[in-house]
């Protein structure tokens, strides 16, 4: 079995590690904070992160250092850092583990990042269902305040960082950065129209950086071990470092695995994950959370960095890999995901709001063997009409499962529709407008 160097999960993989402040400090925690605060100029920090090639781990993979660089330096008012802990992508559960098992790693990252961008306040917008994680984080924050790692004048450097946890109310869309900001402001969680970008008009219309939990957790390590070390892992210069991949589905050992980004799906699924659950062949897998298009066994040797997965026609996204074995109905899989997206569409933009309900209804019909021959054309067209026509990326995400299954497994759809055609005369049609 191959072994890979771990960065984020090193601590928590030791059985005696509880994630308490003492444990964290015992492994060299908060050393990075002490070395940079008041000593390294914030600009150098930003440059360091840029050099490390760290990219956003939430899904879009935007270079973190560049994002920080967008924050206006001379802004007179407050700036904010928001830690996006609203991890609700189906098949993704890395942030939860990071928060529950090693909260101080994140808090240190937050403190350093706040210092780098000149923010004094950070909010951790945590998914509402993560009660335990929120509790652990709050306890950790209290510990950190007591130890002087957070609060006013940290370790006598004159830097102030206040962190608070804000629990969401269970909307998937609030993981989108502008919707997260709206929700944090107390409004209905709906994405904002960009531009202006959060970097200039974010929380309360002030410059704001929104970073994923995993992204921030990487920051102390970059500070400790240097940007060059980090940049040497993975596929320099574009995709660097390790990522925590969440393996789920029909595998023997599902769970979180930290791998350098140049590892392949085969490494993850067959080496670490132990292969297929019931030893049936692999049929399909989602490489980056529910909003990434499906990939086929042909893609199993693709590297898991952002570029390679994109080349394969999908996206690395949030790193949630869901595996499906032979025998899974792909129409059913697409429907299942579509139902999720239909339920979570915020309803702001017409194409996404109306399109998702339409697609769900068509897929339900096809699954119930009531499909019609022109359904596939309609599906394709609806997908085309949603993609790129919405405020946020949700629109593009929700069509991914349908488009990719139509691409690779069109025959399954056609078989179901043919079956429906054959059944046509023998059963009562559902009325066209059953409400009438």
């Amino acid at each position: 079995m191959k072994t890979f160097e771990k960065i984020l999960l090193t601590n928590m993989e030791r059985p005696e590690y509880t994630g308490s402040l003492a444990d964290y400090e015992g492994t060299g925690g908060y050393k990075a904070l002490k070395t940079v605060l008041g000593k390294t100029p914030p600009n150098d920090l930003i440059e360091m992160v840029k050099k490390s090639g760290l990219r956003g781990r939430g899904g879009a993979g935007f270079p973190t250092g560049v994002k920080w660089g967008f924050i206006p330096k001379d802004h007179p008012g407050p700036k904010y850092l928001c830690c996006n802990a609203d991890e609700s992508e189906p098949g993704t559960f890395k942030d939860r583990q990071l928060m529950e098992r090693d909260p101080h790693q994140i808090l240190e990252g937050i403190a350093i990042s706040c210092y780098a961008i000149g923010a004094q306040t950070a909010y951790i917008y945590i998914r509402g269902e993560f009660r335990l994680a929120a509790k652990i984080l709050e306890r950790a924050i209290a510990e950190a305040y007591r130890a002087g790692h957070l609060g006013a004048d940290i370790h006598g450097s004159g830097v102030t960082v206040n962190v608070s946890v804000h629990a969401g109310a269970g909307a998937y869309i609030c993981g989108e950065e502008t919707a997260l900001l709206e929700s944090l402001e107390g409004k209905r969680g709906k994405p904002r129209t960009k531009p202006p970008f959060p970097a200039t008009h974010g929380l309360y219309q002030k410059p704001t950086v929104v970073n994923n939990v995993e992204t921030l957790a990487n920051v102390p390590h970059i500070v400790n071990r240097g940007a060059d070390w980090f940049a040497s892992i993975g596929v320099p210069p574009k995709s660097t470092g390790t990522r925590v991949f969440c393996l789920s589905g029909h595998v023997k050992r599902p769970g979180n695995y930290e791998l350098p980004v140049n590892a392949t799906f085969r490494d993850l699924i067959f080496e670490l994950g132990g292969g297929m659950r019931s030893d049936k062949p692999l049929k399909a897998f989602i490489p980056g959370g529910a909003s990434a298009p499906f990939l086929t066994p042909d893609h199993v040797d693709v590297q898991m960095d952002f570029e390679s997965v994109a080349m394969a026609g999908s996206m690395s996204g949030s790193g949630g890999i869901t595996v499906m074995e032979e025998g899974t109905s792909m129409v059913w899989a697409a429907l299942r995901l579509m139902e999720f997206f239909y339920h979570e569409s915020c309803g702001k933009c017409t194409p996404c709001r109306e399109g998702s309900s339409w697609i769900v209804q068509i897929l339900q019909r096809i699954m119930n063997k009531q499909g019609r021959p022109d359904d596939l054309r309609t599906l394709t067209e609806i997908c085309e009409n949603i993609g790129g026509r919405t405020v946020c990326a949700f629109g593009d995400a929700e069509i991914a499962p349908v488009q990719s299954t139509l691409k690779y497994w069109r025959n399954e759809y056609e078989a179901l529709i043919e079956e429906a055609e054959a059944l046509k005369g023998s059963r009562k049609e559902i009325p066209v407008l059953s409400l009438a």
Partner: protein, 901 residues
């Protein structure tokens, strides 16, 4: 704003155009005549870009962009009608129609629906959507608004309008995705400003008016643009009728001074004009005291003969006249001409006496104008706005909208001196927007204004050149305000020194500052003095002459300003010009072909006194209703009963009209032509929207007919001729247009005022009167203007009565707790004047130790109030009383009934 910004050149569908920087692409396209279809975009609202209908292709941007949220850039090339843009629109429409019910044939919006229009333009007739449509039940949002969410396209215009424009935040979206629906906050019935804005702004038929549901189809409606007659804001309204039935009132975007916004009275109050109680035939009192319907000839003849007889036997001054300010300028002008020329008396007065006259007199005295020197546009540009005793949201809702816009869009600093608590609820409250809210104790504006002047003088905020040019003026005020201690001011007004000083600083340091003065100042004793003090404040801070700054007195009646300008008040000839103004006398003599009467004028209280003493034998009352608009102890009924002959001309048989010998049926403002002058002095056309009800006629026709019968013909063929004559008397009057230029401050008058004019009464103006302390345990009961009503006229409007149908005693929860009363309970109010039993409504914006009662329903409580008349301007003041409040239960009632038996 636009003149300073740079221009940007762009090409839209091959048309090159130049627009100011920051313009939205959709607006730029509209300017060159390209309509980009849209639902969620509205010029009044911030872009939300949710409908995705306005997608256009912009060169160098890979994805289609929403033109409603993209701002223009130099050299931008926009294409709005290329095939893939059109197909994007088609797809959006197809998706919208997916869940939209096919009920166009019965939808009230059908025929003027954006979705319908765009569907006709873009989509095929057959839909591919063969799935289930979402279904919501119909929902009533309060008594006049209903929603049918199946039709909703989720553009959120209503929610955004309610928040961004009205600042009410009464509507919200509930649910997610396709099952998003617009609703009000959970729990109670919708309680909001009921402005109808959500109905007007809905691009489809999802929010509709309950008053006219299913009564009409849009294409049947005939439209008339006229002016609302409820308050002094002078909003342009579009009256829509089917045959002769009033169906709907709305206002188009960009129309009039209101830019298409209306308040509840304008939007839902239109039924008043067609109330079944309207007097439709001339009535003449019979020997047995009852009224008989007669012909116009008979009624006019009778009045003419009686007037002639009284004039012959007792002289001209035995006849007096009162007119309401709901009349048009032409009616007011002709009324005063009739009284002055045909009758020959100066004993006339109008509704402007109830308060507006105080403001006009002060403006004339200090700055030499009778109008505002500012416009609504200046409000929008102001850096600071000060509201003094206005409760502007209730009295002048559209002026309030301009204030809200100034604060919310431009960031103007709002200073409010009001007697209401800044409590947020789903009914908008202007004080919640204010930077410095000074909570003035009820009726103690005199101390508050004095405090402001004191703060300006003592914190060295006096403009340097003012101190240089008029040292004596500044010095005198300084000495006078020094005599009043901050403690005394706090004692009386409840304001602390620091609060007043910060507010004064905000006002003085603003470049453009506007002061709006409302009824609580204008309708108080010494109101003229208070406005003069505020003018002093402007002089001291140098705002008087600065452009964009000024003071405005908010008119309550739709034509208060016009009444003064038409000379329908005791102290002025048309112009307004003083009764001793020789120039004016000469012009009027020439125009009227007869010398102006030399008799003494009489104000409203004087007219009533003279009637009581028998000096006035006959009164001609047009639309005014002194019996119900003055308290019981004013002796109005005695005065009217003492008359030999009373003529009333009114829409309804009011308490006053019931005492008349002859009643003429008059037309409502919806039924006649003319002009109104709004509170900022803008003269606007009133147009006939419906046929006069029954035999009713416009007021001026009656004056003209009477003059002919009294052998002193003043005849006109149409109302325009009167307006022409008004123009002859007041040169350049009412140049109808988008906005007339406001008058400039008259430098000579100001100079005269600061050198000597101020001395006359400065000592009295800057003193604190010891206000009568409320008896122990008593509440201060105030008759207030309700947002949902205007005068007594609106209580005839079906829609408004459904929103607020009875007068209830408003107290806040703390006060109610102290009194041990609850919402809906009955209480007894009592003082020396009498007692009244009313029910209670909790209202958290009522200050402590105060109770409000809507003046429109004052009938039961009028006995509790007593009249005071301003010694100087004769303004009747009576809207405050001290009462004790006790819980009243059914046992009390039965005991009372038994004792009565």
């Amino acid at each position: 704003m636009s003149n300073t910004s740079t221009m940007v050149t762009l090409t839209i569908d091959g048309i090159r155009t130049e627009v100011p920087e920051g313009t939205l692409v959709i607006e730029a396209a509209r300017q060159v005549g390209i309509m980009v279809p849209h639902f969620c975009y509205h010029p009044k609202l911030e872009p939300d870009a949710n409908c995705r209908m306005c997608l256009v292709e912009i060169e160098k941007i890979p994805k289609l962009q929403t033109s409603c949220s993209t701002r223009v850039a130099e050299g931008m090339v926009v294409r709005s009608s290329v095939p893939h843009v059109e197909s994007a629109r088609k797809s959006v429409l197809e998706l919208l129609l997916g869940n939209h019910p096919l009920d166009c044939p019965v939808c009230d919006q059908g025929g003027r629906c954006d979705l319908q229009d765009f569907s006709h333009e873009y989509t095929p007739t057959v839909s591919r959507f063969k799935e289930l449509k979402r279904v919501f039940p119909k929902q009533y949002l309060g008594p006049v608004i209903e929603t049918q969410m199946n039709r909703c396209v989720s553009c959120m215009r209503c929610v955004r309008y309610c928040d961004e424009v009205m600042d009410a935040q009464a509507l919200a979206a509930e649910g997610r995705g396709t099952i998003t629906q617009i609703t009000h906050w959970a729990g109670n019935e919708l309680e909001c400003d009921m402005c109808g804005g959500c109905i007007q702004i809905c691009p489809v038929g999802a929010i509709t008016s309950r008053l006219s549901m299913y009564d009409y189809r849009p294409w049947m409606l005939k439209r008339t643009e006229t002016i609302c007659s409820y308050c002094g804001d002078g909003c342009q309204i579009t009256v829509q009728r089917k045959d002769d039935q009033l169906i709907e009132v709305n206002s188009a975007l960009g129309a009039g001074r209101n830019n298409g916004d209306l308040c509840v009275r304008g939007y839902f109050g239109y039924h008043a004009a067609e109330h079944p109680d309207r007097v439709q035939q001339p009535l003449v009192r019979q020997a047995d005291g009852s009224f008989a319907e007669v012909t116009w000839e008979e009624a006019l003849d009778r009045v003419a003969r009686q007037f002639t007889r009284i004039k012959a036997t007792h002289g001209s001054d035995a006849i007096g006249g009162l007119i309401t300010t709901r009349c048009t300028n032409e009616d007011l002008y002709l009324f005063q001409k009739f009284m002055r020329v045909v009758i020959g008396t100066n004993q006339i007065d109008s509704g402007a006496r109830y308060g507006h006259i105080n403001g006009v007199r002060a403006l004339r005295r200090v700055q030499g104008t009778h109008r505002w020197t500012i416009r609504y546009e200046d409000l929008a540009q102001a850096d600071a706005i000060m509201l003094v005793g206005t409760n502007v949201n209730e009295s002048n809702p559209i002026t309030a909208l301009h204030v809200k816009q100034a604060v919310k869009r431009k960031g103007a600093q709002l200073v409010t001196l009001e007697s209401l608590l800044p409590v947020r609820s789903t009914v908008s409250n202007i004080t919640t927007l204010s930077k410095h809210h000074l909570e003035v104790k009820s009726g103690q504006f005199s101390a508050a204004i004095l405090g402001l002047v004191k703060a300006v003088v003592e914190s060295n905020l006096v403009q340097e050149d003012v101190a240089r040019e008029a040292p004596e003026f500044v010095q005198t005020i300084r000495t006078n305000v020094a005599k009043v201690s901050w403690d005394a001011i706090r004692e009386q007004s409840g304001l602390s020194q620091t609060d007043v000083e910060t507010a004064a600083r905000t006002y003085s340091q603003a470049e453009r500052a506007v002061v709006l003065v409302g009824r609580e100042v204008l309708r108080s004793l010494g109101g003229e003095g208070l406005v003069t003090n505020l003018m002093d404040l402007q002089i001291l801070t140098g705002h008087l002459r600065r452009s964009g700054s000024g003071l405005g007195c908010l008119a309550e009646g739709s034509n208060d300003q016009g009444a003064v300008e038409m000379g329908a008040v005791a102290e002025y000839f048309p112009g307004p010009a003083g009764l001793h103004d020789e120039e004016s006398q000469k012009t009027l003599t020439r125009t009227w072909g007869q010398a102006v009467p030399a008799g003494a004028p009489a104000t409203l209280p004087e007219v009533l006194t003279r009637a009581r003493t028998g000096d006035i034998k006959s009164l001609f009352i047009v639309g005014d209703n002194p019996v119900e608009s003055l308290p019981g102890d004013a002796g109005v009924t005695e005065a009217l009963d003492a008359l030999e002959f009373l003529v009333c001309q009114d829409l309804f048989l009011t308490e006053t009209a019931k005492r008349a010998h002859v009643v003429f049926p008059a037309c409502s403002a919806m039924e006649k032509d003319g002009t109104f002058t709004n509170t900022e002095g803008h003269v606007q056309s009133v147009r006939q929207a419906t046929e006069p009800l029954g035999e009713s006629r416009p007021d001026w026709e009656m004056f003209s007919a009477l003059s002919v019968l009294m052998d002193h013909p003043i005849e006109y063929n149409e109302v325009k001729e009167i307006f022409k004559e008004i123009r002859g008397v007041i040169p350049g009057y009412g140049l109808l247009g988008p906005a007339s230029t406001p008058p400039k401050v008259d430098e000579k008058t100001v100079a005269q005022y600061v050198t000597s004019g101020f001395k006359e009464d400065v000592d009295q103006r800057y003193t604190l009167d010891a206000s009568p302390a409320a008896p122990e345990g008593a509440l201060t009961l105030r008759l207030v203007q309700s947002l949902y009503h205007s005068g007594k006229y609106s209580t005839r409007a079906k829609g408004l009565m459904e929103i607020e149908g009875e007068g209830r005693l408003h107290v806040n929860a703390r006060e109610a707790g102290r009194l041990g009363i609850e919402e809906g309970q009955t209480v007894r109010l009592a003082n020396d004047g009498g007692q009244a039993t009313v029910s209670v409504k909790l209202n958290d914006r009522v200050p402590d130790a105060v109770a409000w009662f809507p003046e429109h329903f004052d009938e039961p409580v009028r006995a509790l109030f007593s009249l005071k008349v301003d010694p100087h301007t004769h303004v009747p003041v009576w809207k405050t009383a001290h009462v004790t409040v006790t819980k009243w239960s059914s046992t009390n009632r039965s005991i009372e009934e038994r004792s009565r038996v």
